[in-house]
Amino acid sequence: MSYSEKVLDHYNNPRNVGSLDKSDPTVGTGMVGAPECGDVMKLQLKVNPETGVIEDARFKTFGCGSAIASSSLATEWVKGRTLDQALAIKNTEIVSELSLPPVKIHCSVLAEDAIKAAINDYRKKQAVEGDAK
């Protein structure tokens, strides 16, 4: 399989690799996929609770180059967006940005799922925080 320039760029220079503190109430963590399927993505967001803007994002991915590129791109895109803006990111936008071939569309779906899972996790945490107050 040949890869697009952009996939290669994200693979060779992945953006925002790493982990944020999972226990921080302003951090949402999404982990999607499964090792037996060959892809696991962990995406974390740090949100400003006052403004609802995503201030930082980190990822780690087990998967093919397209999966790595999709999640790397997702961290770039969510930064600076509000949660609702981030939720509006569609896998098809990732597909066209990275020129993913049909067999790699599932990588973009996984990245979209990872964003949603991280935001859900953050919102759940915030709800619990709110209850505690």
Partner: protein, 405 residues
Amino acid sequence: MKIPIYMDYHATTPVDPRVLEAMLPFFSEQFGNAASRNHSFGWEAERAVDRARNEVAGLIGATAKEIVFTSGATESNNLAIKGVAEMYAERGNHIITAATEHKAVLDTCKRLQKHGCQVTILPVGKDGLVDLDLLRRSITDKTILISIMHANNETGVLQPLREIGRLAKERGVLFHTDATQAVGKVPVNVIEDNIDLLSISAHKMYGPKGVGALYVRRKDPRVQLTAQMDGGGHERGMRSGTLNVTGIVGLGAACAVCRQQMPSEPVRLAGLRDRLRAQLEAGLDDVRVNGSMEHRLPNNLNMSFAYVEGESLLMGIKDVAVSSGSACTSATLEPSYVLKAMGISDELAHTSIRFGLGRFNTEEEVDYVAARVMETVKKLRELSPLYEMARAGVDLKSITWHTER
């Protein structure tokens, strides 16, 4: 050292310059049809084919008349299995094979199953080997054929041919072996191993693509096959079609070179393979070899690099040609069925890489490949959430993964 480095010799091999040289005249001046009986062009071609037939036979301990030229191992496997099933249909309809066979054997058996044959697919152990007791117990009075490969194309695991051949002979069952990966790499002898049918491919042994052979035993027992292609009755009626003289000359020359190099080349390759393995094991944790090291081709190393998906690893070592058991590199999006049959989890199968060493690899190349693989695995592990969790002491099996979409 020339980049890229080719280390995928199980997929195919380059034509050896000596083989190419032997072939060249048969494209042009000596273009005759080996079946032309009444002029020198035909005689020359026939002589060349006969020489090749002798070379092929000599490499496997057969006689020239027992060699049927084909288009390659896929055709040889089809001809052997379908030809026997049809020819011996009155005697029985049961075929025994194994789960790690090449698709050219498995899918041929599956097709026969649709036409009324009974097929037993033997499981293999963690080491990749078939269980001889289970094989013995699987033979019935309806069994006409056992088809078990010599060396596996992914793991290089060598099946106990001699024991299987002995068992087949005792029970009066024909024994076919797909020896595509083994011929020319390790000694093969159809007499000592009681092999009745054996498939060969030229391009796996430094010959050209599109040519192969099937050994068909003529004595004790005399094996008969129903031809699968109708036509001019070439190859003693078993395989019609004008002989691919150039290809056949190439196969013969390839056999001659392999035979010459037989005592020393397997030792050299095993040395290179062990060097590669030692470096990878010294430089990385959580790596494992898939399949028996004891019963294995000298040139194969199949390793899993836990927590790193195979295709992403291949992407990081793009100046090295190897292959992966990862689903992402296959057309089916399923990880290797060979590794799965050996009880290796899908998760580990996704992280496996097959190194296939060959005639033109050097120590310098091995060292380069080992360094590139180690560097890439380390980089990708820094990116892997699984590695992070494993390092933190999380048991990955204890996690409920959300696989439904």
